[in-house]
Chain length 209, copies 4
DNA sequence: CTATAAACGAGACGGTACGTCCAGTCTTGCT
DNA sequence: AGCAAGACTGGACGTACCGTCTCGTTTATAG
């Protein structure tokens, strides 16, 4: 007989149950090291075990490889700043971009960005997990904002929501990564949103509303 | 006496000159391995030396670390498709994005993208080098296209060139990386350019020119 | 109250009594593994527990260390061939040595010899136990044979019994271990006994009785 | 081309030659640890490497297993006291046994005895090496003494030399290991030799020569 | 008929050592 | 002086057991 029956009627495996404390300290150590700038490839199980005050076995018992561990560690990071919304579409978009910008400036969140941006071909599970955790929720929020704008007439009725999102987010990331000056540009979100809203083409001589 | 005098009168160091063959085979081996999906972190000097048929010392003599070697290896890869230009601004932009898209679909070029996208905090020299090699030349070319459009009136006269470039390139990369469907979307460049050209806001009832 | 009263009037501790079945299967598993050529140092508690179908705790509850367990396991092995006696002293001594020789040729008994011969400084309890179990009983038997010979005049009246025993047993073990040819020498016991009986010195020209 | 030619015309393998210093410090560390009472089974490569200030690889490069290393370590220990000889046969034999006795009382030499006595089935190479190093040389020396005695008439002309050696050496080791009192018996060598010389049988009433 | 109490199997715990692999350095004799 | 070869120290890998520690279950007597 390999399982036991608890009072609640929930079967559970024989033997000493796995320690939640160990779980937590392993995840925490992983995030700490990641946050200190250690990359996924440089991250060593041994250092995690040491930092967590845990035997290597305890890690290997739970995760068969480093990626799975990192994935689970990321999963514990909730989207830290859910988008506040309610203003004009422009304001909401600017706020959204500012959140991205801030995330890439603060410690732990930047490390996550780095992981996410890291070679997704070698760490496919990781990339997939990151999409679920970080990309999709935001996409949903911004898509809602954009659709609201389309209904109110603030935005074109035939706007391609996915494309708009790609333009905004992509421009933000690209600028942060590749703009001439590596230094912080406080008004970047506004500039991106305004440029995207206007489009590239000249408007016929019609005053903006 | 540490230098010798060649017939051409050019001073050069004493002793056996460095073998150009070794140089080439090291670079070639590096690119091969990178092209096989090995990442910068996983790339081992030992494997390069083995592949190149060269002693490890010979590599360390030339480059003090792996990054510098990868940088130089990348430098030998010329921008493979210089942007053909001359059509309408829209066509040129679509062509530009298509080049990016193609690069991320073919072997060797995709590996470079991956390197470029890789954690630029841990490999700062690499990122910098990539900017010089791949980003800046393209930025220059597209900037020229955009400025031409501004002169001809095809684009707004007050267009923010850097921002436009960020919007286009960023959207392309973002879509490739994070769009729902991982599969190829042939019309992505057109859709991005058109959406960016139009802007998000509705136009007053004015027929497009 | 911590003890219980059995019908036989023997006090015994409260709670579930220790399982004799577990006792037996642990000892049996230990002897099996030892008999398979596993040495004391290589013998792992985990493998014993596995073989015995028992938790490690059940072993550690009974024996605080591996040595104590091996000692108890050895204790269950009775001296397998008590010396048959009754012939001439020479015959009895030859028979005794033949028993030693046979023991070092058969499976389970050889493994015990090996254990006994193993580094007795690191396993002192084990060596002590082995003396009690295996050495002393035999010494007693052979001492009786020798004393009988001294009484009947077959042996010198001033023979040093301990020394004689050391000479005979020591020579047997030494020969088995270090003789030129590792192969079996069927007449070894006879040769040892005869040589020991005669002594090294030449006899004056007196015919043997 | 895998070898190089030295001035002396001796071919030698390409690459950096193995460090003799490392060789020596590994052997020395091994003997130190063994001398501290660590047994062959308990001896860990890691501790040897640490003590020797050497990487584990450097050990594994030279010896594929622990036994081979211990064998080579033992090989560096010369027979510490070559038998002095020249007195009567009895005196020489007593001296020989005293050397054995002393060796089992002093530090480094006792550890060698222990190794030699250790389970020779699990460490067969080790036992074989010990025979070559320690057993055979002594056998030769004592055999010479015995043969001298046979020529001078001090010993029986038909003495079985191997058997005599087994009786003497075996009795010494047996007594040291299994005699009642573990304590030192200073006159053990004399007692053994005298008992062996006399033989067990009573002599006819003939005065000793 | 319960309560108490210890032993039971299972297996997770923090560790140590294993033998392998590679990093980056050093040391040969040859070119 | 550069070169290929290969040994050097060092450190992480993933595995096997160590001896200890929970778990829920089982098996006894004591009340």
């Amino acid at each position: 007989m390999k399982t036991q029956q608890t009072a609640e009627g929930v079967a559970r495996p024989a033997g000493r149950p796995r320690s939640e404390k160990a779980d937590r300290s392993i995840i925490e150590a992983t995030l700490e090291l990641l946050g200190e700038g250690i990359g996924v490839s440089e991250l060593s199980i041994e250092s995690i075990a040491g930092r967590a005050g845990v035997g290597k076995t305890t890690i290997y018992r739970r995760w068969s490889n480093k990626e799975d561990l990192v994935v689970d560690a990321l999963a514990t990071l909730k989207p830290p700043i859910p988008l506040p919304q309610g203003g004009t579409v422009r304001d909401d978009l600017v706020t959204y971009l500012r959140v991205i910008q801030e995330e890439s400036r603060h410690h732990r969140t930047r490390c996550i960005m780095n992981i996410a941006m890291s070679d997704s071909e070698r760490h496919p599970r990781l990339a997939e997990r990151f999409r679920e955790l970080a990309v999709e929720p935001r996409r949903a929020v911004v898509a809602a904002v954009l659709r609201r704008g389309m209904e109110t007439g603030e935005l074109r009725a035939d706007l391609d929501v996915d494309m708009a999102l790609a333009l905004l987010s992509g421009a933000m990331i690209w600028s942060t990564k590749w703009s001439h000056s590596g230094d912080h540009q406080a008004d970047l979100p506004e500039r991106i949103v305004d440029e995207a809203l206007k489009g590239f083409r000249p408007r016929p001589s019609t005053p903006e509303p």
